[in-house]
Symmetry: C2
Subunit: 306 residues, 2 copies
C-alpha cells in the first residue's frame, strides 16, 4: 500500500467530473486538468433527453452548470492548463513539471465537421452528430445522414426505425461501409441513398428546414426539405498526447480492460477518448466512476467490490 | 432482420428504466414488468450524492419520482406483475402467458439485513449497506462495519480513508476474508476489529448514536458510540426465476459479456442482478442503456457503434 498517492484527472467533461466525484469520496488525492472549461462536448449539446434521473429536455448548459456546482461543493478546483506533454515512467509527469502516481484520461473526442454554412448555426437545432442521442427528437420526420462509412450507415438504419424518411448523402458513387450493413440498408424502404453528392449549405429560419446539395459529377443542384441533419463523417479522440505511450486503436481511441485500465498499469481512460461500444453521457459517467474506483484500488493497494 | 420484435424488461429500478428509455428511443417494442413499483432499491435510499448530473443530496424518493416522470413522458406503462416463471426456447415465455423475442433482466438485488432493533428505523439515517455510496457522509466520524467476509473488510478499508475510526464487528473469532485483505486491515491504525461480537441494537434519537454489542463467548455487553453502521453481511441477487436457465455465478449473479449479454443469446442483464465490478446507480443506468442498444442490435439485425 502507498500512502499519499496522488492522481491526475485529465478533462472535466462528464467522465472526468464523475471520476473526480468518486476519487474525492474515496479519499484519493488528485488534481483535475482542464484547459478549456468544464463540460466538454456538453457545451455543444442543446438538450439531454436520455440521461436517466435528469428531467427530459435538460439543457446541455444546465447539465454543465450542475457539473460545475458538483466540483464546487466537493471543493475541487481545476488546474486550468492544457495537457500537451505526458511522460510515463514509474509514475506520470505532466507538461514537464507535475508529478503523479496515476492518471485518468477523460479528454473526450471531437466530431469532424462538414465546415459548411448553417452547420454551426443550427447545431442543436436540427444538426446533430449522434443518432442515438438525438434521433428521437425527429420521430416521424424527414432527416438526412451525411457520410458513407459504417457509422453513417448505422445511423441511417437506426433513424429509419424512428423517422419518416432518411436520406443518406454520400459524395462518392459507392458506400464504404461493411457489406452486411449495405444489404440491410437496401432492405429499408424509407432510406434513400443519394450518391455523388455533397451538402453545400444547411438552411432554415429557427431550425433546419432544408439542405442544398450539389452533384459532384455534373454540378447539378437540388434542395431537400427536412428537419434533421446527422453528420457522420468521423470522430477524433483527443489522445494525441498519448501517442506511443499507451495502446490506442486504429482511430486513436485508448483501449482498456473492463476496469478502464489502459496498457499502462497506472493509466485509466473514461468516456469518448476510450474505445467503447456505446458513446453516451450515461456510459461516460459510469466509466469515470469505475476508473476512479479502480485507480483507488490500485494506488491504495486494496480491493473493494461493492 | 426481424420486424416487430418485442422484448420484455424485467424490473423498473434505475437499470430497467434506463433500458426502457433507450429501447423506446430506438423504436423497439417492449413491455416492462414490475411487481412492486418503480424505483427498486432507490426506495430505501435517503440521499444520492454521487450520481453526476444530479444536485448532490437529491433524495432517493425524488429520483424515483423522476424515473416515474420519465416513463410517463415516454408513454411507457408498466405491467404490474411479478415475474416468477420464465421459459427460454426460441424466445421468452413469461408467467406461462406472455411471449417475447428477448428479455432484459434488471431485477436488482437485496442486501441481507441484520434483523435487529433500530436497523430499519435508522436506514438512511446512519445505517447503510454501501460504503462507496454513503461513506462520504461520515467523513471524520466514527463508524462500524458489521460482517467478517471480504465485503466487510473491503468496506472497512474504504471507510478507513475517510472516517476517524472504523470498528469491524464480527461474530466469530477470526475473519473469513482473503489473507491479503486481512493483512491490509491490520496495517490500519484507525480500524479496530471486535471479534466474537454481535450487534443487538442500533440506538439514537434522530440518527444513529450507538450500537449495543454482546460478546457471544461470555455474554458480556458493551456499547460503542458512533455515527454510522455499515451492514455487510451479504447481498442476494433477485435471479431465482433464472436458475438453470442462464449462467449465474456462485452467488446467483447473472454473468454477461461487455455488451450485457448473458449465456442466452437473447437475454441481457443490467444493474445489481448482474455480476459487476462496481455496484452503483450510475453504473446500473449505464448498463441498462448498453443492454437496450444491444438488444436492439440483436433483434433488428444491425449494428450501431456510436
Amino acid at each position: 500500500m502507498k500512502e499519499n498517492s496522488k492522481i491526475a484527472i485529465i478533462g472535466a467533461g462528464i467522465a472526468g467530473v464523475s471520476a473526480a466525484v468518486y476519487a474525492k469520496r474515496a479519499g484519493l488525492d488528485f488534481s483535475i486538468f482542464e484547459g478549456t472549461g468544464v463540460g466538454g462536448q456538453l457545451l455543444f449539446v442543446e438538450k439531454v433527453d436520455n440521461y436517466v434521473g435528469l428531467v427530459s429536455g435538460t439543457k446541455g448548459s444546465d447539465l454543465t452548470k450542475s457539473l460545475i456546482d458538483t466540483l464546487s461543493e466537493l471543493d475541487i478546483s481545476l488546474t486550468n492548463e492544457v495537457v500537451n506533454k505526458v511522460e510515463l515512467d514509474k509514475g506520470v509527469r505532466i507538461n514537464s513539471k507535475y508529478e503523479f502516481d496515476g492518471m485518468i484520461v477523460a479528454t473526450g473526442a471531437s466530431f469532424k465537421k462538414l465546415g459548411i454554412k448553417g452547420e454551426a448555426e443550427f447545431s442543436g437545432k436540427g444538426v446533430s452528430y449522434c443518432a442515438i442521442c438525438d434521433g428521437f427528437f425527429f420521430r416521424k420526420k424527414d432527416v438526412a445522414v451525411i457520410g458513407g462509412g459504417n457509422s453513417a450507415i448505422e445511423e441511417a438504419l437506426y433513424l429509419s426505425e424512428i423517422c419518416n424518411k432518411v436520406y443518406l448523402i454520400h459524395r462518392r458513387n459507392s458506400l464504404r461501409g461493411m457489406q452486411y450493413l449495405q444489404k440491410e440498408l437496401l432492405s429499408k424502404s424509407n432510406i434513400e441513398v443519394v450518391f455523388d453528392s455533397v451538402v453545400k449549405e444547411i438552411t432554415g429560419s429557427e431550425a433546419v428546414e432544408a439542405i442544398a446539395l450539389e452533384n459532384v459529377t455534373d454540378n447539378s443542384k437540388k434542395a431537400i426539405n427536412l428537419s434533421g441533419v446527422f453528420v457522420a463523417v468521423g470522430i477524433n479522440p483527443n489522445t494525441e498526447f498519448l501517442k506511443d505511450l499507451v495502446s490506442l486503436d486504429e482511430y486513436g481511441f485508448i483501449t482498456t480492460d473492463n476496469g478502464m485500465k489502459s496498457s499502462c498499469d497506472f493509466l485509466w481512460a473514461a468516456g469518448d477518448c476510450r474505445k467503447r461500444p456505446l458513446r453516451q453521457l450515461i456510459t461516460a459517467a459510469s466509466e469515470g466512476a469505475i476508473a476512479a474506483i479502480n485507480a483507488y484500488k490500485h494506488l491504495k493497494g486494496h480491493y473493494i467490490s461493492s
